[in-house]
């Protein structure tokens, strides 16, 4: 019995010496807090997970044979963004973008790039005010490299699995004006370079940025204009429906009307391209559910 008592005491001391939270439980709690739009709680839990947890990556083991995509920087960037702390969001998101976790072709990389653009747009006017001699908000390549270098050193070189679905993250409206600024962290692809030359694609990109930034009224307005054009794409019609759907979830008085509009646009998108499928990692499951209902 003496041995048992000694062992029990040793366990208690060891526990007392340990840190306060298990990293994956903190991360899980953070994801739940994000879903509940409890940004300060999410921030605390994410920072706890980052402090205690392993290197971010895809297929990171939590316990047993349970694996998760662990990209807390991405969620932290989002949390900062939702709290209008765009400079911090920008820093976190740039770290994730520079970490090499996602290939350029990954939808997640595109989503992160769009979030970076939105954050940069929000940061740009402030930067201009603070530093009048430098009218551009674009940080120098050298400074950006320095900012992301620590993350690059610690993150896995090439992951192979999708990150936590951005669709699980509720989107909040932002009142900040948005201006597209291209940074070294999000260099334009040839496609996007080409698209900047066309006003229609410009509007589409602007609309999508507004959508992923949570400004659904703007995305709806811009996409409505595109849908009224000559040949709207199924994607345009889908995101128009998604904009209506997102607004419906936040409206008590016009919920049914907005959802009807959403379903109409979804149905049009289906007619345009019966094979069209939205990426579930980019869009909320509730919106996808409405999309599915529109086809039944």
């Amino acid at each position: 019995m003496k041995l048992v008592r000694c062992a029990a005491l040793a366990l208690l001391f060891a526990a007392a010496a340990g840190a306060a939270e298990v990293w994956y439980e903190a991360y899980d709690a953070a994801l739940k807090a994000i879903a509940a739009q409890q940004w300060p709680v999410a921030e605390i839990r994410l920072k706890s997970a980052i402090k205690e947890g392993p290197r971010p990556g895809r297929r990171v083991r939590t316990y047993g044979m349970q694996f998760i995509d662990y990209v807390p920087g991405y969620q932290l960037g989002l949390v900062y963004s939702r709290q209008q702390r765009h400079a911090e969001a920008l820093e976190e998101l740039r770290k994730v973008a520079a970490s090499g976790l996602y290939a350029d072709a990954d939808p997640e990389a595109k989503a992160i790039a769009q979030m970076i653009q939105a954050a940069e747009a929000a940061v740009a006017p402030r930067t201009a005010k603070v530093d009048p001699p430098k009218p551009t908000a674009e940080p120098s390549p050298r400074a950006t490299e320095a900012a992301v270098e620590p993350a690059r050193a610690t993150l896995p070189s090439r992951p192979s699995d999708p990150p936590p679905a951005p669709s699980a993250i509720p989107i909040q409206k932002s009142a900040e004006p948005r201006v597209a600024v291209v940074t070294p962290a999000m260099r334009p692809t040839p496609e996007s370079r080409a698209s900047t030359a066309r006003p229609t694609d410009d509007r589409r990109q602007q609309a999508l940025r507004a959508f992923f930034g949570g400004d659904y009224e703007t995305s709806q307005r811009l996409l409505d204009g595109l849908a009224a054009g000559a040949a709207p794409t199924a994607e345009t019609l889908f995101y128009l429906g998604a904009s209506y759907a997102a607004q419906s979830f936040m409206s008590d008085t016009q919920r049914d009307q907005l959802q009807r509009q959403a379903k109409l646009r979804f149905a049009e998108a289906r007619r345009k391209n019966p094979a069209f499928r939205a990426d579930p990692r980019l869009v909320s499951p509730r919106i996808l559910r409405l999309f599915e209902q529109s086809g039944s």
Binding site: L12, A15, E52, R61
Partner: protein, 519 residues
């Protein structure tokens, strides 16, 4: 009873004694009281007390359940092949009015082969006032009792009668015996477990399991033997005459276990890379009921005439086993994200295990015709013996006066070491596992030294999304020798010398296949 019958009885008794020497009780590992289940754990050599972070956790350390974040269900299937070989050469000398020497050879091969579900569980995490709990219900085959054993015995006795000293004619008698036994037992002891674990602190987990022990086994046995006893008079006639006894036996036995025990566990995670575990399996009383019956027929042919005799035997036994406590401690270290190293030490206090029983037996012995020769003998006994040393493999207590069985019984110790390395590819993870263990048995060898069982294990698996499939192979070997020698002085000039020696080995191969689904 004629002198030849007495000699035949002596030879038979010696052979039976030799059989007892050769048939050792199973190892504590085979008893399964301190080993859990699951291909992942057993692939790591069973060093899982500090790891215990999947649906098989309750069988190793109930505290490990509190690690689970999501509901899980698991199923483990086991294939067991075990072979026990024993060879014993037995001699005895008995001196009184005659001088007799008996030599016998006993070879026994016991094979256990079973294919059955080993573990099924379902666990569910929940929170009460912010504290995380995980409940689990599971079933485990805790003790595998199934086996199929064939035993061959050969023996010879030579006796020089000195009856001349006492006024009778001197003579030389010799007896040869042979027998073949075939035992087949099926079943095992199962445990239904209800567990609850709580994360009382993010780094400190506690768990408790309530174990309901049930079920048992059925034994079918049959044997055939032949004894040829010859005698030659040393008087002037020198005549030699022989008699032959043929015996057949068929019997059955049932035993059922019932008991309730409690396991307590704790796990502490001082850092992300280190985990310590402690488990205590409390002592408890296991109720045991046994019923045995057999029928044997003996056909005697000889110069003194032919005769048939039969024996009908029934025995009812009720007892309780003071099952010993088990204490285990483990450590798991994760130097890299893909690598886990673990080590356990476990002890079970088998020196304190006792079996108290009472049995009532009835033996009907006689000649089928005429019935008047039949005798009925009833016997009742209350006794306390060591468990499991003082019980035969078929589960019945040996004679407490048996000198070999009177040896003390040791506590067992197990040391286990394991590692797990993860290889990931796209959305798949492939764990590779290896382990080794040492298991000191509760019985001793000839010199009273520890008998060690050694084992190695290897395992592989694949994990994809919410499904994990694992396989493990465990190989275990135990070699020991039992040399026994004793001189038993008896009345006056009588002296009995018993000697037995021979190697024994137990080898077992186990294959575990596990599936774990997370919801």
């Amino acid at each position: 009873m004629s002198s030849r019958h007495a000699l035949a009885a002596l030879a038979a008794a010696t052979l039976a004694c030799g059989g007892a020497f050769a048939q050792e009780p199973p190892s504590s590992t085979q008893l399964g009281v301190s080993v859990g289940s699951g291909a992942r754990a057993l692939g790591m050599g069973g060093a899982f007390i500090a790891v215990a972070d999947d649906a098989s956790a309750a069988s190793w350390n109930p505290a490990g359940l509190a690690i689970l974040q999501r509901p899980e269900a698991s199923f483990v299937w086991k294939a067991l092949d075990r072979q026990t070989q024993s060879i014993a050469a037995n001699t005895s000398a008995f001196r009184d009015a005659s001088v007799s020497t008996t030599a016998s050879f006993t070879g026994s091969v016991e094979r256990t082969s079973s294919r059955s579900p080993d573990f099924v569980s379902i666990s569910y995490p929940f929170r009460i006032h912010g504290m995380k709990f995980v409940g689990q219900l599971d079933y485990q085959r805790a003790i595998e009792l199934g086996y199929h054993r064939r035993t061959l015995q050969r023996g010879a006795t030579v006796s020089h009668s000195r009856r001349a000293l006492l006024g009778g004619p001197p003579g030389l008698e010799d007896t040869t015996t042979s027998s073949a036994l075939d035992d087949r037992e099926t079943g095992g002891v199962d445990v239904l477990v209800s567990s609850l674990a709580a994360s009382v602190h993010p780094k400190l987990l506690f768990g408790v399991s309530l174990n309901f022990w049930r079920n048992g086994s059925v034994l079918e046995e049959s044997s055939a033997g032949e004894t040829v006893a010859c005698s030659a008079s040393l008087a002037a006639t020198g005549a030699r005459s022989c008699s032959q006894d043929e015996s057949k036996l068929s019997g059955s036995a049932r035993q059922g276990f019932a008991g309730v025990s409690v396991n307590l566990g704790a796990i502490v995670r001082p850092t992300r890379k280190l985990r310590l575990g402690l488990v205590f399996k409390g002592p408890f009383t296991m109720e045991l009921e046994r019923l045995r019956s057999f029928e044997s027929d003996l056909e005697h042919r000889g110069p003194d005439g032919n005769a048939n005799r039969f024996t009908r035997f029934t025995r009812r036994e009720n007892g309780s086993i003071e099952w010993p406590a088990t204490l285990g401690a483990g450590v798991a270290f994760q130097p890299q994200d893909a690598l886990v190293l673990s080590a356990d030490v476990t002890t079970t206090l088998w020196s304190r295990a006792r079996y108290r029983y009472r049995y009532d037996s009835e033996t009907v012995d006689g000649n089928p015709a005429p019935q008047s020769y039949n005798t009925v003998e009833r016997y009742t006994e209350n006794a306390e013996v060591l468990w499991p040393t003082r019980t035969s493999p078929s589960g019945f207590a040996y004679d407490p006066s048996d000198p070999y069985r009177a040896r003390r019984q040791n506590d067992t110790y197990q040391a286990r070491f394991g590692l797990e390395y993860l290889v990931t590819w796209k959305t798949l993870a492939f764990p590779l596992r290896a382990g080794t263990f040492l298991d000191r048995q509760f019985f001793t060898d000839t010199d009273g030294g520890a008998v060690l069982s050694r084992g190695v294990s290897a395992g592989v698996g694949v994990s994809w999304k919410n499904l994990s499939l694992d396989a493990a192979f465990v190989r275990q070997e135990m070699h020991y020798s039992l040399d026994y020698s004793e001189r038993v002085p008896s009345r006056g000039i009588e002296l009995q010398e018993l000697q037995s020696s021979g190697p024994n080995s137990v080898t077992s191969s186990r294959l575990y296949l596990s599936a774990i689904v997370r919801f």
